[in-house]
Amino acid sequence: MRISRAAPHSLAGAYALDAIAGKDLVRFERHLTTCARCAERVRALREAAACLGAGPVIVPPPGLAERAIAAAAGIAQLPAAGPIPRAPRPRATSRVAVAVAGVAVIAAGFLGVAANTAAYRLSQQESRTHAIAAVLASADATVLKARVTTGGRATIIMSVREHALVFTAASLARVPSSKRYELWLMGPSGDRPAGMLPRAASNGMTGPVLARGLRPGDRLCLILEPSGGSSRPSSTVLMAVPL
């Protein structure tokens, strides 16, 4: 699709989000040099975009700063004026390809977005991801934390408006292959299964799992069940969080 003559101004938002590539990018950057108003707007929009990255931080792997400091020792600095040549970029390894391919879910605490890179097509999985994003982005989302009695920590982001919650956990105790963790909603409306937890990823993280159909007075419970699931809670409650 071609951009019409009037369009460049409208690309300021996409530019601030780094969401322009290729010819669009070249064209817009050229436009920026002649449009003072656009340049001002881009600055303001960039500040807003940067806010999307604000919030709680994840502790980086140990030694990150030290390795960067060591790497910078061999790098010459740019003078104060002149064009900025792009630094050589390390090439992507196939591991990234695997990580990014298919469906990847961000549960970065407050927002989730689906990334289906294969053909940018909406899939069944994606409607679930959209539901997760809706919970995380909803104005009434609240964060609950809980400990699991057998080990591990759970983070629950709940939206009453969406009648749903997103569950993630870290460092849950390993379970035999015949068993799986299952979420249950328990309350005045009865006990309902709310989702089996997937096996923990290699970094010890589990989830996110979307649980829908929250009703007043519910508690979210975690129970170890047979790996095929269970029609009724069949063992000890390992975590119970009033919602």
Partner: protein, 209 residues
């Protein structure tokens, strides 16, 4: 028009907490600006301080886009080196120091995701365990900040919010977002702009309160 400064609380690693958080809200801001100008002059001690000040924020921002922890570590390291390399180009008149660093981080992360998208298409690989994050350094300030951003995102229209989040967190271009959402590319670009403006106004308002 004066450059707008939205007041953002950055939870930028252990150094800040060691220094105490009496003025937590303005924690890395002025400090970081000052340090960056020293880095621009080739001061390696200042660069070291900058790295320790922003490493967690940079890593987090990258991880949100790239998702794979070990790849994110690589990209985060590149970002810090890039801060060293182009420190002379930081202009306080054009925005806050932290927004500048985050811009570099986001750009690099998006670059990485896009090159991975290409190889992913070639390889036609599918499915991988999703990455979830353990939140740490959950200070009161960070929690409030996140709630504020979330609340402001909630004030956008669905299309504005989806366009912005798919681009920022998913690394998609506005054309890819348009394809994903089944709307015209021009519509997406205006929604991104209008949505960011609305987000900005909302954050500004909640700053005043």
């Amino acid at each position: 028009m004066a450059v707008l400064r939205i007041h953002v609380v950055w939870t930028a690693g252990s150094q800040i907490s060691q220094r105490g958080r009496a003025g937590a809200a303005d924690a890395p801001g002025p400090d970081l600006e000052c340090l960056l100008s020293q880095v621009a002059g080739g001061d390696r001690d200042a660069f070291e301080a900058v790295c320790h000040l922003v490493d967690a924020a940079v890593y987090t921002a990258v991880l949100r886009v790239v998702r794979d922890p070990s790849q994110s570590e690589e990209v985060a390291q590149d970002v810090l080196v890039e801060v060293w390399r182009i420190a002379s180009r930081f202009d306080p008149a054009k925005g806050s120091a932290m927004a500048w660093v985050m811009m570099i981080a986001h750009r690099r992360a998006v670059d990485r995701v896009r090159s991975a998208q290409k190889s992913a298409e070639r390889e036609q690989r599918t499915a991988h365990a999703p990455v979830a994050y353990d939140e740490v350094a959950e200070t009161v300030e960070a929690r409030l900040e996140r709630a504020r951003v979330r609340q402001c995102l909630g004030s956008l229209t669905d299309l504005q919010r989806e366009s912005i989040t798919l681009a920022y967190y998913g690394g998609y271009t506005y054309r890819q977002v348009a394809e994903l959402l089944g709307v015209a590319a021009g519509t997406v670009s205006t929604r991104m702009r209008d949505g960011l403006l609305r987000l900005r106004n909302c954050l500004e308002r909640s700053d005043e309160n």
